[in-house]
């Protein structure tokens, strides 16, 4: 063969190898396609939707279980629809959505975080659903009050909620408290601080926490403290731009409270290097007296904790500390289902219909029977399916007031997360952090 032919063939082979490699590494689908039998309906148009989310099929939390069951049921009832699912781990999902949003190409429908909405609306990626929602009053009125507020901007609703999470729940081991001579759980600040000192003196970790991700200290612990210093009115003023500032004493004193606890060694030494799942080990190993977690932790804790620990566990919230809302627990819908503005009309109709099924009472029933907290009323459900811990949690909810969770813009949140970490290791002061946050808030 002539030299030029050899070279040409080599180039062709190399290009094919490169292209094949490109195909292999593109996509990244972890779930296969969910097709249903679509051969019997040649007349109806076949619709394929793309979905990206973080609802894993294994180790699933309640809304994930409900999602997969409801989707399967929907596909059975609508054989002309199929869904290409892409499921990623939670943090990877958020990163990927950011990248897709930046390039302006969102999947057909997806899990939408409340803090993304302003950005997506500014960049023309999503559209309001008020017309559809108002056209289905029975479904609309089945939602618990206030669940749409996280996903509403200027009166327009952009996401459909499916769960409510309370963020600042306190689990404590009453046998440890009794062992340390504390017969009753603290009912005010003095007793709480003294309990922390006693527990630490007796060799226990007063509160176990896992802040490697940076958000834990803020969402689970700090927001609970904030409720004990800031009234609902102040929080609403913050949310709706009514003049409240982060440099107000409500906020600064809450920061100071957290710093006091850190200075008293209330937390585990490795708080910043373990995450919110690893922190549970301290509690399960009976080394920590208290643990704070969001409502999403109820099921995993129920599933993994040793029986003796579960038996001794009581679910409550922080005791009253100063003023604010003494028994408040910040609650948020947090995540919702949303869809891309650019889908064509037949797809849009199917997506809206599907999202309705994913947030209706049938779906909510699956959530609640799996120890979750749905955003809409499940109607009658089988109470015997709930774990003991969930029953304790639900009883606690009856005695607490759900307060709004302030959704700061992402830039401010980032400063808050790293700022709290710095504050508890002494690299910044509450006042300095509050000033930095207020400046960041005014800049966004």
């Amino acid at each position: 063969m002539r030299r030029s032919k050899i070279v040409l063939i080599t180039i062709l082979v190399l290009s094919m190898v490169l292209a094949a490699g490109g195909f292999l590494f593109a996509g990244g689908k972890q779930e296969g396609e969910m097709k249903s039998d679509d051969q019997a309906q040649p007349a109806e148009k076949h619709i394929t939707l793309t979905f990206t989310g973080y609802f894993m099929k294994e180790n699933a939390e309640a809304p994930a279980i409900a999602f997969h069951k409801s989707v399967a049921k929907y596909l059975e009832e609508h054989p002309n629809v199929s869904i290409d699912e892409e499921i990623l781990a939670h943090d990877a999902y958020e990163t990927k959505m950011m990248a897709m949003a930046a390039s302006g190409e969102l999947p057909d429908f997806f899990q939408l975080k409340s803090t993304w909405i302003k950005n997506f609306v500014d960049n023309d990626l999503i559209e309001p659903m008020n017309d559809y929602i108002d056209a289905h009053p029975a479904w609309k009125n089945n939602f618990y009050p206030g669940t749409f507020s996280d996903f509403t901007l200027d009166g327009k609703i952009y996401g459909i909620p499916y769960q409510i999470a309370t963020v600042s729940n306190l689990f404590y081991n009453k046998s440890i408290f009794e062992e340390c001579g504390i017969s009753k759980f603290p009912t005010n600040r003095e007793e709480f601080i003294s309990a922390i000192k006693t527990l630490r003196a007796k060799g226990f970790i007063p509160i176990t926490a896992g802040n490697k991700g940076g958000w834990f200290l803020d969402v689970v612990i700090f927001r609970g403290i904030l409720d004990r210093y800031a009234s609902i009115d102040w929080k609403n003023s913050m949310i709706h731009g009514g003049g409240a500032k982060l440099t107000d004493p409500e906020f600064v004193n809450a920061l100071k409270e957290l710093k006091t606890w850190a200075d008293l060694n209330a937390f585990n030494e490795d708080i910043n290097s373990i995450d919110y799942m690893q922190m549970r080990n301290h509690y399960f190993n009976r080394k920590a007296a208290m643990m704070m977690d969001g409502s999403g932790g109820v099921k995993p804790i129920s599933d993994s904790a040793p029986q003796e620990i579960l038996k001794d566990t009581v679910v409550t919230t922080l005791p009253p500390l100063a003023g604010g809302t003494p028994n408040g627990n910040p609650a948020t819908a947090g995540w919702s289902y949303g869809y891309s503005k650019n889908v064509d009309p037949d797809k849009k109709a199917v997506i809206l219909d599907l999202m309705k099924a994913l947030s209706g009472s049938d779906n909510s029933r699956i959530i609640v029977e799996n120890n979750g907290l749905p955003a809409s009323n499940p109607g009658n459900y089988d109470k015997s399916k709930l774990s003991d811990l969930t029953v304790k949690y639900n009883e606690m909810l009856d005695h607490t007031v759900m307060t709004p969770l302030i959704n700061f813009p992402p830039a401010v949140l980032q400063v808050l997360y790293s700022g709290l970490q710095e504050m508890i290791i002494g690299q910044t002061t509450p006042e300095a952090l509050a000033e930095k946050l207020q400046k960041e808030l005014e800049n966004s």
């Binding site: 030299r3 949003a101 930046a102 960049n123 030494e269 910043n272 290097s273 992402p410």
Partner: protein, 294 residues
């Protein structure tokens, strides 16, 4: 016949180089040019991009968070040069000496970490450093040094050092290979002549081998600087920049600005800033290290 192996035709050369250069252009050069473009805009992703001229660069120059991360990168560079290159040099001298047995095994074991993914190395070391179940604390307990036990990755003062160790451990093998190759290329006659003159062992290493290695050393230092300026994966997995921002590096600062704070324009500015600083440091290192004139 004129050997076509030693002097291939131009068309052959070009056609064989094209795929590699093409991929490199597409994956490295074009994104760099795009980043340069984005750095002049205020952009939160999506369709709206607002031209702001040099405002981002001005902000970068006065951004204390950025310069703090630069300090962390410089700390890493110093640690890498001293420990990574230093260790690789010592090991390469040992590996090429007659005293060592089982050279093949040593080479493989030292080089092996370099083929691991940085994420794997990060996770591995985060387990090693774990306060309760980590090997490091277990070992300290074993030898009776309980007083030294602490949550290694929570210490804001020492964190840059602890976080550099996995990086050093992973890439020592590469520098080792470079040095071994360089030492092997020293003409045997020089070393034999030195032996005859009575210079052997450590003296030989210091006075003969290392000076002859000087150019390779300069190259290794350049590689260390370039690599350390863009380090991301290990630290991201180990500490995520924490506690607070104590172990934050420039690459991660850019990542946070783009993917967490929706500031794609500013994070492109950070990347361009990283490029300029890396070039500056490399040029500085070349000026400072004397050139060898044998």
């Amino acid at each position: 016949m004129r050997s076509k192996l030693l002097r291939p035709r131009k068309s052959t050369l070009i056609s064989l180089l094209t795929p590699g250069v093409g991929v490199y252009l597409f994956v490295a050069i074009i994104p760099l040019l795009l980043a340069l473009r984005y750095s002049f805009f205020k952009w939160s992703g999506g369709k709206k991009m607002q031209f702001v001229g040099f405002a981002n660069f001005l902000r970068l120059v006065t951004d204390s968070d950025f310069w703090f991360t630069f300090k962390n990168n410089v700390t890493l560079i110093v640690l890498c040069i001293v420990l990574q290159i230093g260790l690789a040099l010592v090991l390469s001298l040992l590996l090429t000496s007659k005293a060592l047995k089982f050279k093949g095994v040593h080479r493989t074991v030292i080089f092996f970490p370099a083929v691991l993914s940085p994420v794997v190395v990060g996770i591995l070391w985060s387990l090693i450093y774990n306060k309760d179940i980590g090997i490091l604390n277990w070992f300290l307990r074993l030898v009776g040094l309980q007083s030294l036990i602490r949550p290694w990755l929570d210490d804001p003062k020492g964190i840059m050092f602890f976080v550099s160790l996995p990086v050093i451990w992973q890439y020592v093998g590469i520098y080792l290979m470079i040095f071994v190759a360089s030492i092997s290329s020293i003409p045997v006659e020089i070393l034999e002549a030195a032996e005859i003159d009575g210079v052997s062992g450590i003296k030989q290493a210091f006075h003969i081998t290392i000076p002859l290695l000087f150019d390779t050393l300069k190259l290794a230092i350049m590689l260390a600087i370039a690599g350390s300026m863009k380090i991301f994966d290990h630290i991201f997995v180990l500490t995520g920049g924490g506690p607070g921002k104590s172990s934050m590096v420039m690459a991660q600062y850019a990542y946070i600005n783009s993917f967490k704070m929706f500031r794609f324009g500013y994070s492109s500015t950070i990347s361009i800033g990283m490029l300029i600083l890396s070039l500056a440091l490399i040029l500085l290192s070349r000026k400072l290290l004397p050139s060898t004139d044998i």
